[in-house]
Symmetry: C2
Subunit: 697 residues, 2 copies
């Protein structure tokens, strides 16, 4: 590349990082404003009706608005972009691992993700906007990298540098980091999330670019919040972006505190693993329902919405009214929207502690649970009821057809659990109840998601208190270890359930007993260096392979010799260009380059390249020949057939390959044995071929 | 592996991480206590003598103590462990890249690094203890992983799991992160440092382990500081571990502030690049002196120490006495050791601002510069003089034979520079002078070390103020970009100058024009599957190769066939075991395994395995045969000779190989063309073979 091209590339790289940060920050903020205003309107309406003692009307309004919001979110999701349902983190993770599934990052997914998430969160579902924000960030990055739509000629010449797997992956890594940063206002946490959970390949150059993006997000959010502080954003108050303030100066903790924390961590890990187990079962049931079609999806969503509304409005009636504490700075009972002391059905001067948790946005409920110095504010029975309700609702909500994150339900359930443990262990530990709530949330996060450093840093940035770091780490370490004893992390579980061929970073133990040649599945289709058009067309029609080996035979070489690998996509471009010859001769590289230019073979955006069905090759052309040498990758990575499968898997994974050629060990045989793809390394495939390995495990 | 072995491995992995954290934390704290006490005693003695107006005696005491400390540090360094001189970060970086240089992490290096660093820092040199702490952490990790000395039978059976490159590298990554965490009390910064600067390979599993280690360090330091707060550690006061507190609440910054910061960043980048350029020149001069022998090294160190003492004691006389400000909470002039207002030669009620910077420990000087709300405390001339002196002293100090970090000189010079710019740009920006000092330090760090995220997070953790993050990032981004236009980062420069074969993460552009076969250098020595002992002995004696290809020939196979690769080390073990046969027959794997066990061939600690010279093979045995099949790695990674060198380099680097077999493309030739090692990819080697590429660049 020339100097000017390098400059263009670098300039664009950083501009894109900036744009991703800006766009994600704006979307994140828009999302928050919308949720705060819609949910705020709903809650205010309900509480005003309740103040007038019109309890049934209040329920109708509350449940009705929830139902409408849920139905519209589900409709968007079911009809426009089914891929937008769920968290999105597993999909982004799989994409960054090299799974090129269609529509994961399509513009329609982005649209539904944004508006579906707003609908879902404001409908009062027990779900969060954090996972969807990650997916949104990734979609934005993908969209910007593709540079608009080719259909409308919006693409830009400079963007050709990003039409390859690596650069696209880098952009999407930045996008997912920006998503976390926007969701939690945690720039460093976002980077670490991308590093720990999302990305499969990492270069230190990427670290800096990701950090730049998340810092842009942080700056955007900060300025917009400052703008809104003067009340120009409707009901958007302090609750907008969660930022907890547990400044309950914990300077010291004793051994008995540590014992309490260890117990908390162990049980939290068990609960987290149980959550994953149950979620898996429920998702399998749901997938049966969801497969029946869009109307069923919407119906399921509305059912869950109705149940949630009943819980949120009905359960607080169980709680007794508590007289307000006398020595309070806060207002009690709260008249506005947020605050620890909801009035609900109570007489003046009293509050309903269950309503403070249930009849609230999730962010506010979490803030109430985290608030320090409030040991006696919530009754034990209240906490138990809320914990059970949220744990179950969180489980049944995730699989419905709306964009739904898992962070918030897990944090909610975890912090309630933490408060319960804190109260029960009060005799041996005198840490603050708010701190216990935070640690409980950490233990649940560790138990379900198995993320560690990023959760740690996100909690650090949310609370802005460096001193809790060792405690949070201890809890996370314990709960993750305990939960790892039972099952996999929730995102890994979902990746497997969705059937995405995710390559693990390490080779499976059973692979050590096999060699590469064992798992190669035939029959292998090879092309000659100069091949008959008809043969190619037939091969493309009959198989879905994305790569074909090219073998030179006499007279082009002395003996059969592997030239390299040709990609389906490149074949389609070449066939579309119709560079055919009557005779079996080599045309040379120059002409092809002249015809297509350097970017003619660049990878197009998802689902945008030439399609096989669009080719129109006449009968006469079918008998002609085409020279594959110019488009053949002449140095594909190869392994010998006797190489251990584990080593081949490491090679495949570390280099991020899509095809790995297997060559014979002994001379005198055809120069290629087969091609290994991602699917050939999947445990299902390998164990399907060699069931005995399964038994030996 | 069996379940119990996996458990042993995991248990040990975490225990080692814990021990590394504990040990590094303790060493870091010991280092600080020692420095604070020695330097404190020195400074108190000097100032007491000055209070009695015995100025010349004071200088003698000051310079004499410095000289003695410097000489002893240099003696340790020159006679016991020359590898301990300098920062150590480049060496650790190279080790983690796969350069297995002897003595980098030896126990003697650790010893000298700890005590040499204490001597060097307390001698008042313009150098830091941060780089040496990283090296110390790495040495501790290496020592723990090796499990004591084999000589004294101190090694532990379980530790056999760590006798391989990967696990050892993981431990050392943890160690270097712990070093940074101990030096700056920045656990997250330590992890990011290891990630960004030190490690060449990274797995997300490592992230968590590293974080655990740094958190242990943080906890250890915190408890020890709490213990010392009651005055039980001699002169160890608050100054112990740097932790700056610029709580100068910068809630807003305007556009003109940003312009000031951009100017600061650009000039800072230029100064940083200039520092690297000059340092390179000076190190080249010094290496000529240092090569003359240990006495010259010590003499050089003493000369620099004398110059430093003259500066520190002499230059403050140039400054005029300033009357103390009246509205101060602090004491003025300071009688104790730390504080912004040094008395020096001044009459009561006055202070010498130059002495506050010069006649102080570096940590205290930095704290003085960073302190907020002190716009008029330092005169412009003072800042100029101090900046010039520190910039030059920092340059001439680095190459001397004491453990010397670059962080502190760069931060010192940078923060002075920041204050100068802040004062000069006062008309357009009203940010605090302390904040300008911090940003100046960031710009210098970005300009010299080119680290970004880790510097950002370290500064964040040092100042405990999330709001400055965007400003620091902006400055770092600018200064790094500007400096990258001139030269490489200082650590990369030192790695190159030391001749360490560091593999870059990306392939050089000139490699695209070459194929793997081009750079293979002959003659290639291959062994037969069952080889004559004499032939092997001769090959081992004549060459220094670490790997030899093994080729089976008839009658063992139909045609010559590549069996695999045998390592020098394994050959030596096998020869020492004398498993010879009279005839050319295969002995089979079973017997070898029975004889040596699974761990017989494990990699020993640095310089501990069997040596060639220790072998005693009789004449008779020389004619016997040895079966190499059991010790041959039968699936080495291979590339075809026509593969692009760039792709081969990526393969080599990503998989962390030491040998890469090059096989022929066409059949009918010997089954291996050559072996590529790390050295074959070095630009010097490649460009030496193909000088034309150099011209075309």
């Amino acid at each position: 590349r020339k100097k000017v091209q390098i400059f263009q590339y670098i300039f664009l790289k950083w501009t894109l990082a900036l744009l991703i940060g800006l766009a994600t920050g704006l979307v994140g903020f828009f999302n928050n404003i919308a949720v705060e205003n819609i949910a705020g309107f709903k809650l205010l309406l309900t509480s005003n009706l309740m103040l007038e003692h019109r309890y049934f009307t209040a329920f109708l309004a509350f449940g009705g608005i929830n139902l409408i919001l849920a139905a519209s979110a589900a409709t968007l999701c079911a009809y426009i972009a089914p891929a937008a349902a769920g968290s999105g983190i597993p999909e982004v993770k799989a994409y960054l691992n090299g799974v090129d599934a269609h529509s994961i990052l399509a513009p329609s997914t982005l649209f539904v993700k944004i508006f579906g998430s707003i609908g879902g969160v404001s409908a009062g579902f027990v779900l969060g906007k954090e996972g969807p924000m990650v997916h949104t960030g990734a979609c934005i990055a993908n969209l910007l990298g593709q540079g608009g739509s080719r259909k409308y000629h919006l693409t830009w010449k400079w963007l050709r540098y990003f039409k390859n797997d690596r650069d696209r992956r880098d952009l999407i890594t930045c996008g997912s980091a920006a998503g976390v940063a926007a969701a939690f206002r945690a720039p460093v946490g976002g980077v670490l999330f991308a590093l720990e959970e999302a990305a499969s390949w990492w270069r230190s150059a990427l670290l800096w670019r990701t950090f730049f993006t998340t810092a842009v997000v942080a700056v955007v959010l900060r300025s917009l919040i400052q703008y809104c502080r003067s009340g120009r954003c409707g009901l958007f108050g302090e609750g907008g972006l969660i930022m907890f303030d547990i400044s309950s100066s914990i300077s010291t903790y004793s051994t008995s505190d540590l014992i309490a924390i260890i117990i908390l961590g162990v049980i939290g890990g068990v609960f987290g693993a149980l959550f994953n187990y149950l979620l898996d079962k429920i998702l399998r049931i749901y997938s049966v329902i969801n497969e029946k079609g869009a109307p069923f999806k919407i119906l399921l969503t509305m059912t869950i919405s109705f149940i949630t509304s009943c819980c949120a409005y009905g359960v607080p009636w169980l709680a007794k009214c508590t007289p307000c504490p006398t020595d309070l700075k806060e207002q009690c009972p709260t008249i506005g929207r947020s605050g620890n002391f909801k009035n609900f059905q109570c007489p003046p001067g009293h509050y309903n502690d269950l309503a403070s948790l249930f009849l609230n946005t999730q962010d506010d409920a979490i803030r109430n649970l985290f608030s320090g110095g409030t040991e006696n504010e919530f009754h034990m029975s209240t906490l138990f009821i809320f914990f059970t309700a949220i744990y179950c609702l969180g489980l049944v909500t995730y699989g419905v057809a709306v964009p739904s994150g898992l962070f918030i339900p897990v944090i909610l359930a975890g912090s309630t659990y933490g408060r319960i443990v804190g109260t029960l262990l009060g005799p041996i530990s005198d840490l603050d109840a708010g701190l216990f709530a935070l640690l409980g949330a950490a233990s649940f996060l560790g138990g379900t998601m198995r993320m560690t450093v990023s959760v740690c840093v996100i909690l650090l940035e949310l609370t802005n208190d460096l001193l809790i770091l060792p405690l949070v780490m201890l809890v996370l370490l314990i709960s993750k270890t305990v939960a790892d004893g039972f099952n996999k992390g929730v995102y890994d579980q979902i990746v497997i359930m969705k059937g995405l061929p995710y390559m693990e970073a390490h080779a499976e133990p059973h692979m050590r007993h096999l060699v590469a040649g064992d798992v190669v599945s035939g029959p292998l289709i090879t092309f000659s260096g100069v091949e008959n058009v008809g043969t190619i067309m037939q091969a493309l029609r009959l198989t879905g392979h994305n790569g074909f080996p090219v073998v030179d035979e006499p007279p082009f070489s002395d003996a059969p010799e592997l030239v390299g690998l040709v990609l389906r996509y490149h074949l389609l471009v070449l066939l579309k260009g119709k560079m055919f010859t009557k005779e079996r001769v080599r045309t040379g590289d120059g002409e092809v380059l002249k015809r297509f230019g350097a970017s003619g073979f660049a990878k197009a955006g998802s689902g945008k390249g030439p399609k096989f069905d669009e080719l129109s090759i006449s009968e006469e052309e079918m008998d002609m020949f085409i020279d594959l040498h110019p488009i053949t990758n002449t140095s594909p990575y190869t392994v010998v057939e006797t190489m251990s499968l584990a080593k081949a898997a490491v090679l495949f994974r570390e280099l991020g390959l899509r095809h790995l050629c297997v060559v014979p060990k002994t001379p005198g045989r055809p120069p290629i044995v087969g091609i290994l793809t991602r699917h050939d390394f999947m445990p299902e495939h390998v164990l399907g071929l060699f069931p005995r390995l399964h038994l030996n495990r």
